[in-house]
Symmetry: C2
Subunit: 289 residues, 2 copies
C-alpha cells in the first residue's frame, strides 16, 4: 500500500465516521476560548489517520538581517502540524534582527536552540533569505560549519529566497538544481549549483524556494512530503491560502516593463555584492576542502 | 490629472531616464552589503515619482494569541514602502505571545508604541486575527476603547482574519460589509456587520481581509491605495509574490469534501466560542452606548 492509497483509505475512514455522526463531540457546546482550543486538539487526534505520524524535528536557521516573512511563511505551515518540534537555530540565544528594509529590526526573533543544542537528526533543515543578512552568513564560518555538519543527517535540506546562497556557500548545493529570489538565481552558478527557474525546485533531498512569499508554497509542499497530501490541503484551508494578489507582477516576465526596470535598477548593487560574495565564498571553500 | 494619469506619467518619465542610461549609478560597482543597501536606497529615491508621497503613519495592533502570519504578511508590504512610520500597538511594551497552535509563543512580538503614545491621525489602523487571542480582545475594554477612539481619525480601518471580529466588537463595523476567516465570517452578523464573502472586502474606509494568508493580498491592495498601482506592483515583484499553492484547497468550496469536513469539525468549538463571545460583546456595547 503506497502513500496515496493510505491517504485515500484514511480519508474514507474519516468521512465514514463524520457521516455516521461519530465526530461531533462538540455537542457538549464549549463556549470559551479554552474549551474551543481543547475541542480543536481533540479533533486533531480524532483525525489521527490524517494528522498522525512520527515526531518531526524541524530546524530553522535565524540570523541578523534575515527577512521575517521568509521564516514566518514556512513556520505557519509547520506550526499547524501535530507532533513536531521546531527549533529556531542560531549561535546563541540572543535575539536577532530581521528588517529587510535596512532599518532597525521591528520584530527581533529570539532563537530557541543553539547550534550545539541542535538535534543531530533533523527532518528539515531550513534556511531563510534576506539581504544583506544572507551575504554576511555566506562568509560566516560558524554558520557554514554548522550547516555542513547538520545537512548530511537531515532528511530535507531546504531554503527560501537568498537562503539558497547560504546553502551554496556551505557547499551543500554542489551539482544540485536550485532556485533563489529571481534577482539572485544566477548567482547560484558561482556556488556550484545549477540555477533553475521555479517557485519550488526539488533535486534529491534539496528543496529550494523562490523569493520571500514562495515560502508559503514551499511550506505547503513540504508538509505534503512530511505527512500526506490531505493534511497539506487541510492546512491550506486552515490558513485560507487561496491567493489572489490583485496585480500580475509577481515575476520579472509578468510585471510591467517599468516595474521590472525599476527593480533591476534597485537590485543592481545587491546583485554585484551577491556575485562578489559568492566568488569569495567559493574560493574559500575550495581552499578549505 | 487623476491618479492613473499621474502613475502613467511617472512611469514614462522613469522609463525615459532608464533608457537614457541615467539610472545606473551602480557603474561605480558597490560590492559590499553596505554599498548595495545604499544603492538600493538611492534607487528608491531616484524613482521618487513612483515611491514618493507624504509620510504614512501605520498602526498595527498586536496582542497575546494573535497569529503571527496575520501581522507579518501586511507588515512585509508596508515595510517595503518609503517614508512611513509603523507602530506595533499594545497597552504596554511587554512582548506579546502569538502562537496560533495554543502552545507557548515561538516568536513573541515586542510592541513599539503604547496606546497612549499612538499618533492621533493614522493612515492605517490594522487589526490582525488569531484564535483564541481575538476572542479575548473582543471583551477587553482597554483594547476596544482604544480602537473606538483611534478609528474615527484613521484614513483606513482594517483587519485580517478574525481581526474583523475585534473591530466589530468595538462597534466599528456597524452596517458595514466585511469579511473574516471563512469559518467565522457569519459571526460578523452578531456584531452588526454584513458578512460578505471575498478575499478583501472594502466598504467605505473599512477594508477587511479573509483568513491569515489573505493579509498578503490585503497589504498589496492597500499599498496601491496609499501610494499607486505601480508601487504595489513593484513590491509584488520585490517579494516575488507569484503564488502557486500546488493544491486547490484554499476555500471550503474548493477543498476536497473530506478536508472541509475535517476542518468544520475542528472549528466547531471555536465557532461556538466566537458566536457566544460576539453576543456578549454586542450586549455589552448596547448597554454602554
Amino acid at each position: 500500500m503506497d502513500r496515496r492509497d493510505f491517504t485515500r483509505l484514511a480519508a474514507l475512514s474519516i468521512l465514514a465516521r463524520v457521516l455516521a455522526g461519530a465526530a461531533p463531540s462538540h455537542a457538549a457546546a464549549p463556549v470559551t476560548a479554552e474549551t474551543a482550543e481543547r475541542h480543536h486538539q481533540e479533533a486533531m487526534l480524532r483525525y489521527a489517520e490524517l494528522t498522525g505520524g512520527p515526531k518531526l524535528s524541524i530546524g530553522m536557521l535565524v540570523y541578523p538581517g534575515m527577512f521575517l516573512q521568509d521564516l514566518v511563511g514556512p513556520l505557519s505551515m509547520f506550526e499547524a502540524l501535530m507532533n513536531r518540534d521546531i527549533h529556531l537555530l542560531w549561535k546563541n540565544l540572543d535575539p536577532v534582527g530581521n528588517d529587510g528594509s535596512g532599518g532597525p529590526a521591528l520584530i527581533p526573533v529570539k532563537p530557541t536552540t543553539t547550534f550545539s543544542q541542535c538535534p543531530t537528526q533533523l527532518d528539515v533543515l531550513f534556511v531563510p533569505g534576506g539581504v544583506p543578512g544572507s551575504f554576511t552568513m555566506m562568509e560566516d564560518s560558524t554558520v557554514l560549519d554548522f550547516l555542513a555538519r547538520a545537512a548530511p543527517n537531515a532528511r530535507f535540506v531546504t531554503s527560501v529566497c537568498t537562503g539558497s546562497l547560504i546553502l551554496g556557500a556551505a557547499g551543500l548545493l554542489d551539482g544540485y538544481r536550485a532556485t533563489s529570489h529571481w534577482a539572485t538565481r544566477d548567482v547560484l552558478a558561482e556556488l556550484g549549483a545549477i540555477p533553475t527557474p521555479g517557485r519550488i525546485v526539488t533535486d534529491r533531498n534539496r528543496i529550494t524556494g523562490g523569493g520571500v512569499t514562495a515560502g508559503l508554497d514551499f511550506g505547503l509542499a513540504l508538509v505534503a512530503q512530511l505527512r500526506n497530501r490531505s493534511y497539506a490541503e487541510a492546512i491550506q484551508l486552515y490558513l485560507e491560502y487561496d491567493p489572489d494578489p490583485g496585480f500580475n507582477a509577481g515575476s520579472p516576465e509578468k510585471a510591467p516593463p517599468i516595474v521590472t526596470a525599476f527593480l533591476n535598477d534597485m537590485f543592481a548593487g545587491m546583485r554585484e555584492a551577491a556575485f562578489a560574495t559568492a566568488r569569495r565564498a567559493r574560493k574559500r571553500a575550495s581552499r578549505d576542502f
